[in-house]
C-alpha cells in the first residue's frame, strides 16, 4: 500500500471486480493454504498462484485439493475443482484438516457484517421461526470462520450490509469483542483478518477488535467509505491508498485466470 501511486491516470484501466480480485490475491503468500469459494476468491487464489505464490495450496470444502484449475468452477464441488488435483477427498476430511489448523486463509461473504466481523448468511429479521428473508445458512462458512487462521471477507460495501449488529451471527467474527472468541471456546489465534470491499481494505484494531479502514481504493474518499457503513469505522493513521492493479496483475487476470470474464465481467456492487 503506497499513497504515491498515480491512480488517477490509470482510472479507466480496470473495473471494480478486477480491483477486488487483484487486491485479494496479494494477501496470499507462497506455501500457505487457502480455502476458496467460487467467484472472486477462486480468481484471487488463481491469480496469486500465477504471480506470487506458485505453491499456494488451494482447498475446496467439498473435497478438491490442489487442482490445476482449467477454468472457473461453478460449484465448489464441481469437476473443475478436482481437475488434475492432488486429491479428491471428502468434505469430512477437509473439515478435519481445517480443525487441525492446516488452513491458513479462507474467504467468506454474507448478507450482513458487523463491526466485529460477525457474518450473517442465515436470515434477515431476528425471529428465527419467521424470518423476513431466509438465506442458505452457514454451509461451511461458520466452520472456516471458526477454525481457519485468518478469515478474509470480499464484499460490496453499503450501510445496509455493514450493520452495527447482524440479525443472526451465522459465522463468528470477534463476536462481542476482545476475548469473546476465546471465551466461546474457539481456537486461539484465529479470526477475522481483512475485509476487501469495492471502496477499501479494512482490518481490525489489534486491541478493540473493531473494524478499521486500512486503505481506501484509488478515487474513493474516506467519507464515502464511512457513509457506506452502518456503524462507525475506525480509520488507521496514516491511512493508505490501495495499490491499484498492476499491468502484470491485469494481464494475467484477464488472459489466464478469467478469459471468459465470468468474474471480472460482473458488477462490483
Amino acid at each position: 500500500m503506497t499513497t504515491d501511486d498515480p491512480f488517477l491516470t490509470r482510472k479507466a484501466e480496470y473495473n471494480g471486480m478486477e480491483l477486488l480480485v487483484c487486491v485479494a490475491s496479494r494477501y496470499l503468500e507462497d506455501g500457505a493454504s487457502v480455502s476458496v469459494g467460487t467467484g472472486v476468491p477462486v480468481a484471487a487464489a488463481m491469480l496469486a498462484q500465477k504471480l506470487y505464490a506458485p505453491n499456494l495450496l488451494i482447498i475446496f470444502e467439498a473435497g478438491g485439493i490442489a487442482p490445476l484449475l482449467p477454468t472457473m468452477p461453478i460449484s465448489v464441488g464441481d469437476s473443475r475443482t478436482i481437475y488434475k488435483a492432488i486429491q479428491a477427498t471428502s468434505m469430512t476430511e477437509v473439515m478435519d484438516t481445517l480443525a487441525r489448523g492446516l488452513v491458513d486463509y479462507c474467504f467468506l461473504g454474507g448478507a450482513q457484517i458487523d463491526l466485529y466481523g460477525n457474518l450473517n448468511s442465515t436470515q434477515v429479521g431476528t425471529d428465527y421461526r419467521k424470518p423476513k428473508v431466509r438465506f442458505p445458512g452457514s454451509g461451511g462458512a461458520n466452520d472456516f470462520g471458526s477454525l481457519a487462521w485468518r478469515t478474509m471477507v470480499v464484499t460490496p460495501q453499503s450501510a445496509r450490509r455493514f450493520v452495527p449488529k447482524v440479525d443472526f451471527i451465522t459465522t463468528p467474527g470477534y463476536l462481542d469483542g476482545p476475548g469473546s472468541r476465546e471465551r466461546a471456546g474457539l481456537p486461539p489465534g484465529t479470526g477475522p483478518y481483512k475485509v476487501i470491499t469495492n471502496l477499501a481494505v479494512l482490518g481490525y484494531h489489534p486491541e478493540s477488535k473493531r473494524m478499521m479502514v486500512e486503505s481506501i481504493h484509488p478515487g474513493v474518499t474516506t467519507d464515502e467509505v464511512r457513509a457506506n457503513s452502518g456503524f462507525e469505522l475506525l480509520v488507521k493513521e496514516p491511512l493508505g491508498i490501495t495499490d491499484p492493479p498492476s499491468e502484470d496483475e491485469l494481464r494475467v487476470l484477464r488472459e489466464e485466470v478469467d478469459p471468459l470474464k465470468l468474474v471480472i465481467g460482473r458488477e462490483a456492487k
Binding site: 467460487t38 467467484g39 475446496f60 470444502e61 467439498a62 473435497g63 478438491g64 482449467p70 477454468t71 461453478i74 460449484s75 465448489v76 464441488g77 464441481d78 469437476s79 475443482t81 478436482i82 479428491a88 477427498t89 471428502s90 468434505m91 469430512t92 473439515m95 481445517l98 480443525a99 460477525n118 442465515t122 428465527y128 421461526r129 419467521k130 424470518p131 428473508v133 431466509r134 438465506f135 442458505p136 445458512g137 452457514s138 454451509g139 461451511g140 462458512a141 461458520n142 466452520d143 471458526s146 477454525l147 443472526f168 451471527i169 451465522t170 459465522t171 463468528p172 463476536l175 469473546s180 472468541r181 471465551r183 466461546a184 471456546g185 474457539l186 481456537p187
Partner: protein, 337 residues
C-alpha cells in the same frame, strides 16, 4: 449454551445397533426400478439424506420420483443441498430440515419458490454447518451417539442447533457435542455399482462413505452396473460395500442436470431455466407440470431436456473439448464416445 433446535432423528446407538443387526449380509441381487425403490424403501415421515453436493453427483432420478409419488412429511438433511433441495421443495416433500446449506444454488442464485417454502413456516429448521453435518454422520458411522467439535461455538448457528456444550475431560477445553445423525434413508448416485450394491464413486466424496454407513436404508442409483469382479479385482474401487445397501437402480445420466465428475458437466442452461421458472407460482407450476409431473420417468425428462444430443454436449463440456460437431472425425484421439 445449549442449542434450542430439535433433533429430528433417533440418536440412541443401541436402537440403531438392533436395526443394523437385522440387515442381511448376503450377496443378493438388489437391482430394482426407480419407481419401486422409492415406493418400497421411502415412507412418508422418514428422514432422508441425499448424497453428492447439491448440484454434483446427485440422484436426480430418485429425487424426481419422490416428488412424483407425492412423498410427504419427510425430514431432510440440508447438507449443501442445492438442486436436490429445490426438487424436494417443489414437491413440498419435507417439513423439517437440518439446515447447513439450503435453498441456494451456490453462485447461480436463490430460487424464489424454494425460498418461499422455507419462509412460509412449513419447514421446521435446526441450524448446523457443513462440517457439523459431516461429523454428525461420522459419529453415526462410528456407532456413537455424539462427537465433540469446535465450530459453531458462540454463534446464533449454535443457538439454533441442537448441540450441547461440554468440557473435554483431559484438557478442560470447551467443545460442542454434536448428536449423531442416523438417517432413515439415504439416496446416493454413484459411477458404478454391482447388483449386490458394491459401489464405486470417483472424485469428491462429500460425506457419502459415512452417509452410507450411518443410514438405516441405502438406495443407490448408478451410471452403470458392473460385474462383482470389478470390485474383487481391485478393492480400491469399493467406495461403499454391498452389505450397507438395500436397493440398486441403473440410471445413465442419473445426476443430470447436475454435474457427474468424469462423465458430464452440469446443464447450466436448464438449471437457469428452472431458476427463472421459480419467479412466480404460475410459471413454476407450468414448468413442473412439463418437466416433472408430465414425464413418466427420468428418461422422459432427459428427452425433454435435449436427449442424447444434449448429453453429448455436456460430456464435451466435462472433458473441456470442443463440441462434437466442430470436431473433424478421425482426427481426435478421444474419438466420439
Amino acid at each position: 449454551m445449549e442449542g434450542k433446535g430439535r433433533i429430528f432423528t433417533e440418536v440412541d446407538p443401541d436402537l440403531l445397533r438392533e436395526c443394523f443387526r437385522s440387515k442381511s449380509k448376503k450377496l443378493t441381487n438388489k437391482v430394482t426400478s426407480v419407481e419401486e425403490a422409492v415406493r418400497v424403501h421411502l415412507h412418508d415421515g422418514d428422514y432422508l439424506a441425499v448424497g453428492g453436493f447439491g448440484g454434483v453427483r446427485i440422484p436426480t432420478a430418485l429425487l424426481h420420483e419422490i416428488v412424483r409419488q407425492g412423498r410427504k412429511g419427510l425430514g431432510f438433511a440440508g447438507h449443501t443441498a442445492t438442486h436436490d433441495c429445490e426438487i424436494l421443495a417443489a414437491g413440498k416433500c419435507f417439513d423439517r430440515c437440518d439446515a447447513a446449506y439450503i435453498i441456494g444454488l451456490e453462485a447461480r442464485g436463490i430460487p424464489k419458490m424454494t425460498r418461499k417454502y422455507f419462509e412460509s413456516g412449513a419447514v421446521e429448521c435446526t441450524e448446523w454447518t457443513n462440517a457439523a453435518l459431516s461429523w454428525r454422520l461420522r459419529a453415526a458411522a462410528m456407532g456413537i451417539s455424539f462427537i465433540p467439535a469446535r465450530s459453531m461455538l458462540g454463534t446464533d448457528t449454535e443457538l439454533h442447533s441442537a448441540a450441547k456444550e461440554i468440557a473435554c475431560p483431559f484438557t478442560g477445553k470447551k467443545y460442542l457435542a454434536l448428536p449423531a445423525l442416523f438417517p432413515d434413508v439415504a439416496i446416493i448416485h454413484v459411477h458404478e455399482a454391482d447388483i449386490n450394491g458394491n459401489c464405486h464413486i470417483r472424485g469428491i466424496l462429500v460425506s457419502d462413505q459415512d452417509l452410507a454407513r450411518a443410514s438405516k436404508t441405502v438406495i443407490i442409483s448408478a451410471e452403470r452396473l458392473v460385474p462383482i469382479d470389478f470390485f474383487r479385482q481391485d478393492q480400491e474401487k469399493t467406495t461403499i460395500p454391498y452389505y450397507l445397501v438395500d436397493a440398486v437402480v441403473e440410471v445413465p445420466y442419473g445426476s443430470y442436470p447436475g454435474n457427474m465428475p468424469y462423465e458430464y458437466y452440469s446443464d447450466e442452461e436448464h438449471l437457469q431455466e428452472w431458476l427463472t421458472a421459480e419467479e412466480s407460482p404460475e410459471t413454476y407450476q407450468a414448468f413442473l407440470d412439463k418437466y416433472l409431473f408430465g414425464t413418466r420417468d427420468f428418461s422422459g425428462y432427459l428427452e425433454l431436456c435435449g436427449g442424447t444430443h444434449r448429453m453429448r454436449q455436456l460430456r464435451d463440456l466435462e472433458y473441456l473439448r470442443k463440441p462434437a460437431l466442430e470436431r473433424s472425425e478421425g482426427t481426435e484421439g478421444e474419438g466420439t464416445d
